[in-house]
C-alpha cells in the first residue's frame, strides 16, 4: 500500500539496474512475496528483489547463456519457453508473476496471461505502448513498419509479434473481467496519465483475476 501511494505521488521514477520498468515493478511487489519472473533474462530483477524485498524468486528464460548467468548469480531459473512453460505450476503458487517487456514477443499472449493469472495471485505486465505518438507518426509519415526508440527493430528481425497499445490491454482486461489494481504509464522517467495511450512509452499493469 505505501509503495503504490508513493508511485502515484512521484512524477518521476528512478531506475533500478538502469531500467525504469524494474523500478515500478520493484515498488509494486510486496516484501517477502513469492515471485515468478517470465523471461527473466540473467535474473537481475529477481536478485534485486531477493536482496531488497526478501522475495522468494524463480525465473523462466529460454536463452541458454542467460539462464547460466542467472543460475551462476544464485537465482533459481528454469530454461524453458514461457509459451508452454507454466502448465506444471499449481494454481496460486506465486504472489506475483512478472512479465516485463515480453508479452508482445509471445506466440499466444492471451494464453500466457491466463496462465499467469492462474498460477499467480497477481500478474505484473509491463509492455511497450504501440499507441505512442512516435509509433503513429513513424507509420503515418514514412508509411513503413514503425521503428522508434521502443520498437527499434526492422520488421524482418523483430522479436515482437503481437503489438498492443494501452487501450488494447485495457479492453482485453475488461473483456476477460480481470481486475486492474494499478496501472503506471511512463515516458522516459516521467510518470503520467495524461493522454496515456498517446504519451506513454511503457505501461505497467497490476492485474488479478
Amino acid at each position: 500500500m505505501p509503495a503504490s501511494a508513493e508511485t502515484r505521488r512521484k512524477p518521476f521514477v528512478r531506475d533500478i539496474l538502469g531500467r525504469s520498468d524494474y523500478a515500478i515493478i520493484g515498488e509494486l511487489v510486496e516484501p517477502d512475496a513469492r515471485v515468478l519472473d517470465l523471461g527473466c533474462g540473467e535474473g537481475e530483477l529477481l536478485q534485486w528483489l531477493a536482496e531488497n524485498k526478501h522475495v522468494e524468486g524463480r525465473g523462466i528464460e529460454i536463452d541458454g547463456p542467460k539462464v547460466q548467468r542467472a543460475i551462476a548469480r544464485g537465482v533459481s531459473v528454469y530454461q524453458g519457453d514461457i509459451d508452454e512453460g507454466l502448465s506444471g505450476f499449481p494454481d496460486a503458487s506465486f504472489d506475483y508473476i512478472i512479465l516485463s517487456q515480453t508479452l508482445q514477443e509471445t506466440r499466444r499472449p492471451l494464453a500466457v496471461l491466463e496462465e499467469m493469472l492462474r498460477v499467480g495471485r497477481h500478474a505484473i505486465v509491463a509492455f511497450p505502448n504501440f499507441g505512442h505518438w512516435s509509433v503513429r507518426l513513424s507509420m503515418l509519415w514514412q508509411g513503413r513498419a514503425p521503428r522508434t526508440k521502443c520498437f527499434p527493430h526492422e520488421w524482418y528481425n523483430s522479436p515482437n509479434i503481437h503489438f498492443l497499445t494501452i487501450r488494447d490491454f485495457e479492453a482485453l482486461a475488461r473483456d476477460q473481467h480481470w481486475t486492474v489494481d494499478r496501472k503506471i504509464f511512463t515516458s522516459g522517467h516521467r510518470v503520467g496519465t495524461f493522454l496515456a495511450n498517446l504519451m506513454a512509452e511503457t505501461a505497467v499493469f497490476l492485474v488479478r483475476r
Binding site: 543460475i71 551462476a72 533459481s76 524453458g80 506444471g88 499449481p90
Partner: protein, 368 residues
C-alpha cells in the same frame, strides 16, 4: 592434493530385496575440511564404473580422480570452502562390499550369491557413512548419470538431510533404450564362457565379454559429433585397408583399448549388479507419482543436462524438473551446450563449473 582411500565398516545393511548384508565395508575419500558448524559437507556420487577416488592424486597409484576437473581448491566444488565426500557404491569392486567380496558364510567370493541391490540400497549405505563421519545435513548431494540417480534418491528419501541436490545428465527412471543398452552389456558378459555363472574368481575372468560391454558403453557415452571429430574414418597406423579383421579404423582401436583397459580395473559381476540396480530405479515407485516422490522437505535443486547427450536426453531431466515445480520446489534447470554427449559432465566442465559454483554459493549463504 593427495587423496587416500579409507574404509568404514558397518555390522549390517538391510536391502530392498529383503536380505541383509553383514558386515558391509565402504571405501571413501574426503577432500577439504568439515567446518565447525558441520554445514559445508557435499556428497559426490559416482557413475556406473566410477569409484571413491573422485579428486586429487591417488596416494596408491598416482592417478587423478574421475571428477578432478570439478573438485579441488578453487574448482566448482571448492575444497577451500567445502568438505567433499565420495564413496564407492554398494555392489562395486573398488573397496566397497560387492559380488567380489568374501561371503562370510562360505569364505569365498559372493559371486552370484550376492543379493540384488538397488539405488536406494546404495544411498542407505552412504547415509550410514555420512552419519559415521558426524554429519547430519549435506549442503549438497551431486553426481552425473547413475550418480545423479543417487542424488535424486537422496533428496527424495532424506529431504531433511539434503539442503540441495545437483543431479546432472540423469533420469528418475531408465527408458527402454537405456535398459536395452545395459542388457547388451550384461549379455556380452554372460555369453563369455569364462563367466561360468559368475564363478571365475579363481580362474580367468570373462575378459572378452566385459570388454565388449565396455565398448558398447563407450559408444553411448559419446555423440555422433564427438566421434566424428575424434576419429572420423581415419585408419590406425596404415595407409590402406588391411582386408582382414585386424584393426583398420581409429575408432576400432580406441574401443578395443578402452575395453581391454577396463577389464583390469572392473569386476564383471559388479557390472551385472550395478547395471541392474540402474534399470530397477524408478523414483515414482512407491510414491504413486514422480511429483509425490518430492512431496516433503525444502531441498533446493539444480538440474543440468547436455544438448548432445542422447543416452540421458534432456527430456528426462525436464520431467523431473516439472515434477519438482508441481510440488513448488525451488529448482533451477539448464541445458548446457556440448558436443561431448553423455561424457560432457566429466569432460566439458567450463559452463557446468560456473552454474554449480554460483548455485552452491547462494545455497551456502542462504541455508548453511
Amino acid at each position: 592434493m593427495i587423496a587416500e582411500t579409507r574404509t568404514a565398516c558397518f555390522d549390517s545393511l538391510t536391502l530392498d530385496c529383503g536380505e541383509a548384508l553383514a558386515p558391509v565395508e565402504v571405501a571413501y575419500e574426503t577432500y577439504g575440511q568439515l567446518n565447525s558448524a558441520r554445514s559445508n559437507a557435499i556428497c559426490v556420487c559416482h557413475a556406473l564404473t566410477g569409484d571413491a577416488h573422485a579428486a586429487g592424486i591417488s596416494h596408491a597409484d598416482g592417478k587423478p580422480g574421475w571428477w578432478d576437473s570439478m573438485i579441488g581448491p578453487g574448482k566448482a566444488f571448492d575444497t577451500d570452502k567445502y568438505f567433499v565426500i565420495c564413496s564407492n557404491v554398494l555392489g562395486g569392486c573398488r573397496g566397497t562390499t560387492g559380488p567380489s567380496s568374501t561371503n562370510p558364510a562360505t569364505g569365498k567370493p559372493y559371486a552370484m550369491a550376492f543379493p540384488v541391490i538397488t539405488i536406494p540400497d546404495m544411498v542407505r549405505l552412504q547415509k550410514m557413512l555420512i552419519e559415521r563421519l558426524g554429519i547430519e545435513r549435506l549442503l549438497a548431494v551431486t553426481g552425473g548419470s547413475m550418480g545423479g540417480m543417487q542424488a535424486l534418491q537422496w533428496a527424495a528419501a532424506y529431504p531433511e538431510t539434503v539442503v540441495s541436490a545437483i543431479p546432472i545428465a540423469t533420469t528418475a527412471r531408465h527408458s527402454a533404450q537405456q535398459i536395452a543398452f545395459n542388457e547388451v552389456g550384461r549379455q556380452a558378459i554372460m555369453a563369455d564362457l569364462d563367466w561360468n555363472d559368475g564363478n571365475y574368481y579363481d580362474s580367468n575372468p570373462p575378459a572378452r565379454g566385459l570388454a565388449v560391454a565396455r565398448m558398447v558403453g563407450h559408444i553411448t557415452y559419446m555423440s555422433d559429433e564427438s566421434m566424428r571429430e575424434k576419429f572420423g574414418r581415419r585408419l590406425r597406423d596404415k595407409e590402406t585397408f588391411g582386408f582382414d579383421f585386424s584393426v583398420d579404423f581409429e575408432v576400432e582401436s580406441y574401443l578395443r583399448y578402452r575395453g581391454t583397459q577396463f577389464v583390469s580395473r572392473f569386476d564383471a559381476n559388479s557390472y551385472l549388479y550395478i547395471t541392474k540396480a540402474m534399470d530397477y530405479f524408478d523414483l515414482a515407485n512407491g510414491a504413486g507419482s514422480l511429483a509425490n516422490a518430492f512431496r516433503s522437505g525444502n531441498t533446493r535443486y539444480l538440474a543440468i543436462s547436455f544438448t548432445s547427450d542422447w543416452l540421458y536426453p534432456s527430456y528426462q531431466l525436464v520431467e523431473v524438473v516439472q515434477a519438482l515445480r508441481s510440488m513448488n520446489r525451488d529448482v533451477a534447470y539448464c541445458e548446457l551446450p556440448s558436443n561431448y554427449g553423455h561424457d560432457a559432465f566429466l569432460v566439458d566442465v567450463g559452463e557446468q563449473t560456473e552454474v554449480v559454483r554460483g548455485f552452491l554459493a547462494a545455497t551456502f549463504k542462504a541455508r548453511a
